[in-house]
């Protein structure tokens, strides 16, 4: 088990290297860095200073090496918006995003799995049809539009909840629900599929032949075997979760990393953008690791790797 974790941890540096590499390529190589970091009104002195700071006169390899070195030391440069180092700015907003994401994830997982189980057990009957149709509709919908609708209904029309910002748990509801809908439909559909597949497994008959009750069969035999594909799927959805949180934070003015990223793009605050991208990538990798560990706890066959 320990060895498993260690092995997984060792792949992280490679991934990070790749992330840094791609970031570097996009930002230094695809366009003129000067244009990216400064705007048209830049003076020749500013341009010269930038060229020196970014070592733009050195060969690309050297530039990359220096870039990498900076990143590893946590030096992403100074934020152009806040005139403070970029990394701490990003880290400061991490908490709000984690809060939003965890609540949304919990919501999506619990209701998604429950919905999938109900749909599977009542296959081809009304509950199944409703849940499946709802799920497909949810998949087809731009979830941020749902967010807008929710604001229209609950905040503007009914005035039950605030429209944006943070402060109380009420502020968390709409954003969390909106973000959850990025994942909820797929959870329902995947759970439905795996429960249906697991239903025909022979070991369930064995359990029944021992005299086990139907609820015991569901929760001790069927679910533990059906849940792993759902978790695998969760791992793959990290990207969508990130995208979703960026959008959700933008709609609801939630003070997390996502809204920071968008604002920084339009402000051309490139150091913050790079730092944010970096942090998010690491978070995704760690989250995947967590999912892997969880999976191997549930299914011992996965520990073999």
């Amino acid at each position: 088990m320990f060895a498993f974790i260690v092995r997984r941890l060792l792949t992280i540096p490679i991934t990070i290297l790749l992330v840094v590499f791609v970031t570097f390529i996009v930002l230094r190589v695809t366009g003129d860095p000067v244009q990216i970091y400064l705007d048209i009104n830049a003076t020749p002195e500013q341009t010269a200073l930038l060229r020196e700071r970014l070592h733009l006169d050195e060969p690309l390899i050297v530039q990359f090496g220096l870039f990498l070195w900076d990143v590893l030391r946590g030096d992403f440069g100074m934020s152009l918006q806040f005139a403070t180092p970029a990394l701490p700015v990003v880290l400061g907003r991490l908490g709000a995003t984690i809060q939003l994401v965890s609540v949304a994830l919990l919501f999506a997982f619990v209701f998604g799995v429950a919905g999938g189980i109900v749909a599977a057990l009542r296959k081809d009957r009304l509950p199944d049809f409703l849940l499946s149709a709802l799920a497909v509709a949810g998949q087809s919908m731009p979830s941020f539009w749902l967010g807008i609708l929710l604001i229209q209904t609950f905040a503007l029309d009914l005035k039950w909840l605030p429209t944006s910002g943070t402060g109380s748990w009420q502020h968390l509801i709409l954003p969390a629900v909106t973000l959850a809908t990025f994942l909820l439909p797929n959870f329902i559909l995947i759970t439905r599929t795996t429960v249906l597949e697991t239903r025909s497994e022979l070991f369930l008959t064995t359990a029944r032949s021992k005299g086990a009750s139907e609820s015991s069969i569901m929760f001790r035999h069927l679910l533990p075997n059906a849940i792993n594909p759902v978790l695998s799927f969760l791992g793959l959805q990290m990207g969508r979760l990130v995208g979703g949180s960026i959008i959700t934070e933008t709609i609801f003015a939630w003070p997390g990393i996502g809204s920071l990223m968008i604002r920084s793009i339009f402000q051309r605050d490139v150091p913050v953008v790079i730092a944010a991208v970096f942090i998010v990538s690491i978070a995704i990798v760690l989250a995947n690791l967590l999912v892997d560990i969880l999976q191997s706890l549930i299914d011992p066959r996965m520990r073999l790797d």
């Binding site: 022979l202 021992k210 009750s213 035999h221 533990p224």
Partner: protein, 337 residues
């Protein structure tokens, strides 16, 4: 009074084109302490019969008729909770595929403990001890260290032993064994059969052994019931089945056992295939393939009738005395090769 009395068991499967019969009016009994072999080809309905006894038939299957009498009750009419009290405690079952029949994410120890926790109130620690003892009893060496191991970490033979352990841990009166050795290597097969026989005499239980392998029957069974196309066609003590065969199908089955003493002859297959369950002849279902069939066989309904207290046959011609017993296991009419 038989321990288990099955009469007229009928189980069908719903398909897009209507119900298809898998078991059609099967009747047989199981006495306390005996081993009854239920024999037939694939598709004969023997497994479905076994599953029907414990009501483990899932939709689209459905038991639509018959009685399964055990302990003075008809199992088919019990409420679900009462049925659950029987399963695993009075009547247990082991299955053909030990790997897919064990929960992959549960330790084997936990799986053997489960029936004890369901049916008794002895508590976890005592259950663990008894489960461990059972694992030793079924011949798993080093059971203590293997208690927390997972099914995929064991070999096929050991997995089958685990299944036997979990089926017998509550000391049931009847063990239904559905092709317990078919998926195993030949050497392991012999071990498992020996183990079953051993446990049977020690626990004094009856075994309903489902198999297509007459060799296994000869080894282990006390009595035999031969099944064809969902019906019992002959039932007799094991010796009588071989020496005093009273049904052409049984004879054909015996005939098809590869026998090393008959090296000069080729393998004799039973010609034809089992009938399509949707298009069954009204009379004897074996008649189309039978070397002894008369035109009237196809149209007259056959019934399993006793020839003497221990031996019954469904063959009309044998009952009428037209066919002599034992039905020769090698006739000119049965094709060679």
């Amino acid at each position: 009074m038989a321990l288990l009395n099955i009469s007229g068991l009928t189980t069908v499967f719903e398909t897009a084109t209507g119900p298809v019969g898998a078991v059609d009016g099967a009747s047989f009994t199981l006495e306390a302490g005996e081993v009854l072999g239920l024999v037939g080809e694939s598709g004969s309905g023997k497994s479905v019969s076994a599953f029907s006894i414990l009501r483990l038939i899932n939709p689209p299957g459905k038991i639509i008729g018959g009685r399964v009498e055990f302990g003075g009750q008809d199992l088919l009419s019990l409420a679900p909770r009462q049925m659950r009290a029987v399963r695993g405690k009075d009547i247990s079952m082991i299955f053909q595929e030990p790997l897919s029949s064990l929960n992959p994410v549960q330790t084997i120890g936990a799986q053997v403990m489960e029936p004890l926790l369901i049916h008794t109130s002895i508590g976890k620690r005592k259950a663990r001890d008894r489960a461990l003892a059972m694992l030793y009893r079924v011949g798993i060496p080093d059971a203590e260290s293997r208690f927390d191991v997972y099914p995929h970490q064991l070999s096929g033979g050991l997995r089958q032993r685990v299944m036997i352990a979990l089926a017998l841990v509550c000391e049931p009166k009847i063990l239904i064994a559905d092709e317990p050795t078919t998926a195993l290597d030949v050497t392991i097969q012999a071990q498992i059969l020996a183990l079953l026989k051993d446990l049977q005499s020690e626990l004094g239980m009856a075994i309903l052994l489902i198999t297509h392998d007459l060799g296994v029957i000869a080894e282990v069974a006390d009595r035999v019931a031969v099944m064809y196309a969902g019906q019992i066609v002959e039932s007799a003590p094991v010796q009588a089945i071989f020496d005093d065969t009273a049904h052409p199908y049984a004879a054909a089955l015996i005939n098809s056992i590869p026998d090393r003493t008959r090296q000069a002859r080729r393998l004799i297959a039973v010609k034809g295939n089992i009938p399509d369950p949707r298009h069954l002849p009204p009379g004897c279902r074996f008649a189309p393939r039978c070397g002894f069939a008369q035109p009237s066989c196809v149209t007259t309904v056959q019934k399993l009738t006793a020839l003497d207290p221990t031996h019954a046959t469904a063959c009309m011609r044998v009952q009428a005395g037209e066919l002599a017993r034992p039905i020769p296991t090698l006739t000119p009419e049965l094709p060679h090769g």
